[in-house]
């Protein structure tokens, strides 16, 4: 699938070759995604300020000591945005990875087994896909009680079926291909057929779908947080930070704006990376 990447042996050259294929914007996306992940891992270690403590006057404008200024309580906004990036990014990635793995496996089994199992699984997926899932997830978190973990669980429940559909359609398409037919004629047992002959062919489409879906998850999580369904105050979440400081938009516009801008960059880099991957793997 990835042309030109197999001949190289040493990894820097392979990395360079890979980035060249992906193009400059896709490379910016992938480097950005890696940087965000590093920032998310380090988070509070990147700043000397405590994100939860009152350390200065409230509403200080951005300066050298406080890069993003201070918020309505006098906490360092940069430190809080870092913590927000950490929770949003890691939570989004975990839901996407969970959905990707679960959905792919269910789609794989459904598509490879066929018959009644396939029919039943696909009707269940249909039911999930026809429900207004965001709405139900919002209502569910509101009823269960706000919190990041509840948001993650509610979204994960409604997120995997789409991957099951993508995976199943890919598997059905691959199933008709000669190499699978040959493997079946040669008596390759079911599990091996699935993992060695079917799954690898579906991986590129699934990876593209998942990468481009990260921004959807970030947006869903931040909307929940904005609506007061995330972690309660004083925790730092990007959506909630904007919501709580909305009143100061007229005068101290950067306080509600900067967390939202951080959200934009999370989405933008993951979409650039997804777009670059798609152009390489799908050749468009």
């Amino acid at each position: 699938m990835i042309r030109g990447m197999n001949g190289q042996t040493n990894s820097p050259a392979r990395l360079y070759e890979g980035l060249r294929l992906i193009g400059w914007s896709g490379s910016v996306g992938i480097v950005g995604v890696l940087l965000i992940t590093i920032v998310a891992m380090l988070a509070t270690r990147l700043t000397p300020h405590d994100p939860y403590a009152r350390i200065a006057e409230a509403y200080l404008p951005p300066s050298e000591t406080h890069w993003f200024g201070t918020d309505e309580v006098g906490r360092d906004l940069f430190a809080r945005v870092l913590v927000g990036v950490q929770s949003t990014w890691l939570a989004s990635l975990s839901v996407i990875i969970f959905s990707l793995v679960l959905g792919s496996l269910i789609g794989l089994i459904s598509g490879a087994t066929g018959g009644k199992v396939d029919f039943l699984v696909q009707r269940i997926v249909d039911l999930f896909l026809v429900l207004p899932s965001t709405m139900i997830a919002l209502a569910a978190v509101a009823v269960l009680g706000p919190g990041l973990l509840n948001s993650i669980i509610a979204l994960a429940i409604f997120w995997w079926p789409w991957y099951a559909r993508v995976s199943r359609d890919e598997i059905r398409r691959l199933y008709a291909r000669p190499h699978v037919e040959a493997a079946r004629a040669a008596g390759v047992p079911g599990p091996r057929l699935m993992l060695r002959y079917l799954l690898p062919g579906a991986v590129p489409s699934l990876i593209i779908a998942a990468t481009l879906d990260v921004s959807n998850m970030i947006m869903a999580l931040s909307v929940m947080s904005f609506l007061g369904l995330g972690q309660p105050a004083p925790s730092a979440e990007l959506g909630a930070m904007t919501a709580r400081s909305l009143d100061s938009l007229t005068v101290f516009w950067w306080i509600p704006m900067l967390p939202a801008v951080a959200l934009f960059f999370l989405c933008f880099f993951s979409n650039l990376a997804g777009d670059g991957l798609r152009s390489v793997l799908k050749g468009t």
């Binding site: 009823v143 009680g145 909307v223 516009w253 934009f264």
Partner: protein, 329 residues
């Protein structure tokens, strides 16, 4: 057609049942206590007990759900814990504002999508445009709403950004203020209502239009290379007419299917936009209900949004079969 509509009506009923059941099921494991939320944190336990009795919160969950279904089929959605009004009345009060917003933003989104498509087809700077589109598609609704409010309301003061009208005394008959203004013979009310609609409708329309255009651009790219498009050009049709009559119709299937899926993500946007712009609709009502764990209100709004969602997906399917007669309903 009749059979199709009957089937979809059954589907709607099933979806509403499932939704209400999920929310009800969750309620049985909630840590928070609606009776406590209603009575206030310092209420004596006797008061809480009375509240529980009054709202039937002591019955087992299955009994409550049974009661709920009986009541709903009689048109009674229960009483809101927060406003203490029947939820049905609340919904009717806030529904017109939301419907007005959704309708205006749909019209706006169509116009936006069409002009963006023309822009894309003009082919100028396609690489730059592609990245502008990725950036637009990556803009979270929170940033978009806050930016629009800040730039066009606070900074430039071109448009109002809060509420539906500046006339406090105006009472409309239909609840759609643009129409009400005309009916009441006060065109300035309609103009004011439209001005108030512009920013929130824009915030809702832009992400939707961008998503549709990104999907449409892909399939349109292939369609525009077909021989019949060349024929249309040879016949001297204008580029806009070619795209509208021959291009979009043939390319519409994939974006329409995507639209159906995309709409589910837009309800969250509606809630955010109504909150940022203080739009007194169902979204704001629901957001306020979240804070008090107001189960009857949350359920009621979910039912309305669920109905709207199913109606929209029916419309999308009909549009798909109109665009491509090979797709049967």
């Amino acid at each position: 057609m009749a059979l199709y509509l009957a089937k979809r009506a059954c589907g709607l009923a099933i979806v509403l049942m499932v939704m209400s059941f999920i929310v009800f099921l969750l309620q049985s494991v909630i840590p928070s206590d609606p009776a406590r939320a209603m009575a206030g944190p310092y209420a004596p336990s006797s008061t809480i007990e009375t509240v529980r009795e009054e709202f039937g919160l002591n019955d087992p969950i299955a009994v409550q759900y049974g009661h709920f279904l009986v009541r709903v089929s009689a048109g009674d959605l229960g009483k809101s814990v927060r406003t203490r009004q029947p939820v049905g009345d609340d919904l009717l009060r806030y529904l017109p504002a939301t419907l007005e917003l959704i309708l205006v933003s749909t019209i706006l989104a169509m116009g936006l999508a069409f002009s963006l498509i023309l822009l894309l087809l003009s082919g100028a700077r396609s690489q730059v445009l592609r990245h502008v589109f990725i950036a637009l598609g990556s803009t979270p609704i929170i940033l978009l709403a806050v930016l629009l409010a800040y730039v066009f309301w606070f900074s430039l003061a071109w448009l109002p950004g809060s509420g539906r009208l500046q006339f406090r005394d105006f009472v409309g008959t239909t609840g759609f203020y643009v129409i009400d203004g005309l009916l009441a013979g006060r065109p300035n009310v309609s103009v004011d209502a439209l001005a108030h609609l512009t920013l929130p409708a824009m915030a809702l329309a832009l992400p939707f239009a961008v998503a549709v255009v990104r999907s449409l651009a892909g399939s349109l790219h292939d369609v525009m290379r077909q021989p019949y498009i060349r024929t249309a050009r040879g016949n001297g049709l204008s580029e806009a007419a070619i795209v509208l009559r021959h291009g979009i119709r043939n390319a519409a299937s994939a974006p329409l299917a995507m639209t159906g899926l995309q709409i589910r993500l837009l309800f969250g946007n509606l809630l955010v936009v109504e909150t940022v712009f203080g739009w007194p609709g169902l979204g704001l009502y629901m957001t306020q209900s979240f804070a008090t764990a107001d189960l009857p209100a949350i359920l009621g709004v979910s039912m309305v949004f669920g109905t709207i969602y199913i109606l929209v997906s029916i419309a999308v399917e009909i549009a798909q079969s109109l665009a491509d007669p090979r797709i049967e309903l």
